[in-house]
């Protein structure tokens, strides 16, 4: 069990870097605390698997250090780091039974037989694979194989951390939900640090206490699901988290202050001042579809026409095309009972939920969000 700290960590697969784009992982500092349940969330190719393999020691970072409890483990192998990792596709030892598979990591450590048996039973029970214990691993279904694969990660109780690399990709949806809960239970029972890589925000938020969102080789935000929802630090977080993602509109500094397509926006003075300071950057305002209000045309500054209504069963997504010069589409998420206006409607962005971005990074109120 350990706290895992990344210090100025960066990785590139080929040669010397000529710019930030050459890095698979851009230089970062990060801490995973002992006993936490973390998710590493991001789209395919953002570097999350690379980061995980560096933490486990399967990959050696080209720059920076990985520290376990303050001690550098850069030169240690995965064996020496004493880490467990579960991979995206099930890895089982075909010729062994399920029991032998689960016992394998413990046998390699030379643990006594009774202890191994007790541990294997405990994990098999937690994963509900007890009836399979005497079956050959080769003939299991993909689901069962992945459970065995996960079981091998969970069976050692002395590990520094357990890393999961999209472990539920091959599992069918109903079982996915149950396994996620199982993992959470196991986390609480064994109090071991877990890092869970996924591209599915629902999976991340049901499993993890804190989520690190990765984008283009860097962690753009680390926070609770609620923080990611309410205060996305980066436009990517706004766009990637939530369904649908945050509305992002280009804004500019005009004579009357901050303007969107010629309409003045209500902006707190502190933020307006910061926007003015960093002129020349790309300025955007973001608002979650949940907070967009569709009101009577007379009550709003912005107007648009309802383009499309998608009924999702428990809520509706309404696409409104604004009648401003750049004619962007703004998505609003309304409750199932809420009436949807037809034709022309007023669109209102509550001031409290407007977020402002310069070059994709959030502009904070005061210093608290920077």
């Amino acid at each position: 069990m350990a706290e895992i700290r990344l210090e100025q960590l960066a990785h590139r697969y080929h040669g010397a870097p000529s710019g930030p784009a050459d890095y698979a992982l851009r230089p970062m500092d990060h801490v995973w605390e002992q006993g936490g349940a973390y998710a590493l969330l991001g789209p395919s190719g953002c570097g999350k698997s690379t980061l995980l393999n560096i933490i486990s020691g399967l990959l050696v970072p080209s720059e920076g250090r990985v520290l376990y409890d303050g001690k550098s483990v850069n030169d240690l192998t995965p064996q020496q780091r004493n880490i467990a990792q579960v991979f995206q596709f099930p890895v089982v030892y075909d010729t062994m039974t399920v029991h032998e598979n689960l016992a394998f990591p413990l046998r390699n450590q030379g643990q006594p037989r009774e202890r191994i048996d007790a541990r294997v039973r405990e994990v098999a029970e937690a994963l509900e694979i007890e009836p399979l214990l005497n079956r050959k691993a080769q003939n299991l279904t993909a689901d069962e194989k992945q459970k065995v694969s996960m079981g091998r990660g969970l069976v050692r109780d002395d590990v520094a951390a357990i890393l999961f690399d999209e472990p539920l990709t091959v599992i069918d949806p109903q079982l996915k939900w149950r396994l996620r809960r199982k993992l959470k239970e196991i986390h609480q029972r064994f109090n071991v640090t877990m890092v869970y890589v996924t591209h599915d925000q629902l999976e991340a938020s049901t499993f993890a206490d804190k989520i690190a969102v990765m984008y283009e080789g860097q962690i753009v935000q680390f926070g609770t699901p609620r923080e990611l929802f309410e205060n996305p630090q980066h436009t990517f977080v706004g766009y990637f988290i939530g369904s649908p993602g945050m509305n992002l509109l280009e804004i500019a500094l005009g004579a009357s202050g901050v303007e969107f397509d010629g309409h003045a926006l209500a902006v707190p003075d502190a933020i307006a001042a910061q926007l003015r300071q960093r002129e020349g950057g790309r300025l955007q305002v973001g608002i979650r579809p949940e907070f967009v209000q569709l009101v009577a045309p007379d009550d709003a500054v912005l107007h648009g026409y309802v383009d499309l209504v998608q009924d999702q069963g428990t809520f509706k997504i309404v696409d409104v095309r604004l009648d401003t010069p750049s004619a962007p589409v703004v998505k609003a998420r309304l409750g199932e009972e809420a009436g949807v206006p037809e034709g022309r409607t007023g669109v209102h962005f509550p001031e409290a939920w407007q977020r402002f971005y310069i070059d994709d990074h959030l502009v904070g109120v005061g210093d608290e969000n920077l």
Binding site: N53, S56, L58, T77, P78, Q79, I83, A84, Q85, F87, Q88, F89, V91, Y93, D94, T95, M96, F104, P105, N108, Q109, R135, K136, Q138, N139, S149, R152, G153
Partner: protein, 287 residues
């Protein structure tokens, strides 16, 4: 209402004709010979199973059959483990890959009778690399007069010629194992032996099955190389089944007996191959 059209059978006809000419007709000819005693085209007698009864108690057949089994067993016992070891030690990436692949393919490209001739020269004690070296080390080596030396030379020749095939098959098998298996093994602290025993060997099973069957069949039917190298001698030390058969069929023109011999020969290969196949695949169905 569905109309049945049997014209599709015409599409099968070419295959049927091909198989008929390549396998069925020659084989039935042999069956035909094996139940007759033929003196000349117009004088022939039906003898039933007499040739079979005679051949089954023929000491010549027994001797070469025993010799043949020992030989094929030695070939498999050496070439399969050696091929695996070679495949495991081959580079996985870089320039070494094409280099080692070409190097391993070379023996496979040499015609069989040329292999025999090459080893005839290599084995000579006056100028041959192998024979001269052994003799100058003080070992009395002469493959032409000493049965043991002849045996070893025929075996070494086969190993030289065919281990590459096993190695190449195993190499392709090893290359198809995803990296994640090795990563998982490292995480699980598996030893090198455990990686071989529980990951590589099980994943090699299918290619090994092919390698074992090919090498068994080929070595069981070996003819050209020992024929060129030793002519079956000294004495009958390296006279294997196919050579005994050839002597019988072409040397003595004893067609009925040779035909019965061929069919028994064929059935032995079929049987042993079936046993190999069943033994290596029967575990797949078990829970």
């Amino acid at each position: 209402m569905k109309t049945y059209n049997n014209k599709a059978w015409w599409l099968v006809l070419p295959v049927f004709v091909l198989v008929a000419f390549s396998a069925i007709i020659p084989m039935m000819t042999v069956v035909n010979y094996s139940v007759q005693d033929i003196f000349d085209p117009s004088t022939r007698y039906f003898v039933g199973t007499e040739w079979y009864r005679e051949i089954l108690v023929d000491p010549r057949l027994h001797d070469s059959l025993v010799r043949q089994f020992i030989y094929s067993f030695c070939v498999l016992a050496i070439e399969v483990p050696l091929g695996i070891v070679v495949a495991l030690s081959m580079p996985r990436r870089g320039l070494g890959v094409p280099f080692s692949l070409i190097l391993l393919s070379l023996p496979l490209l040499v015609p069989w009778n040329v292999v025999g001739t090459i080893w005839q020269i290599i084995g000579r004690e006056d100028i041959g690399l192998y024979g001269w070296t052994l003799n100058s080390l003080g070992l009395d080596y002469n493959y032409a007069s000493n049965p043991r030396d002849a045996w070893i030379t025929v075996l070494v020749m086969d190993v030289w010629h065919w281990t590459s095939l096993v190695a190449l098959l195993c190499y392709s098998g090893l290359r198809s194992i995803p990296d994640v298996y090795y990563q998982a093994a490292r995480i699980d602290r598996a030893s090198h032996w455990a990686v071989f025993r529980f990951i590589q060997l099980p994943k090699l099973k299918n290619v090994l099955l092919i390698a074992v069957m090919l090498r068994f069949m080929d070595s069981f039917m070996i003819y050209t190389e020992p024929f060129v190298l030793t002519g079956g001698g000294p004495g009958t030390a390296t006279t294997f089944l196919s050579q005994t058969l050839t002597q019988m069929a072409l040397g003595q023109f004893d067609l009925g007996r040779a035909a019965a011999f061929s069919l028994i020969y064929f059935l032995i290969i079929l049987l042993v191959t079936w046993v190999f196949y069943t033994a290596m695949t029967h575990n797949d169905d078990k829970g």
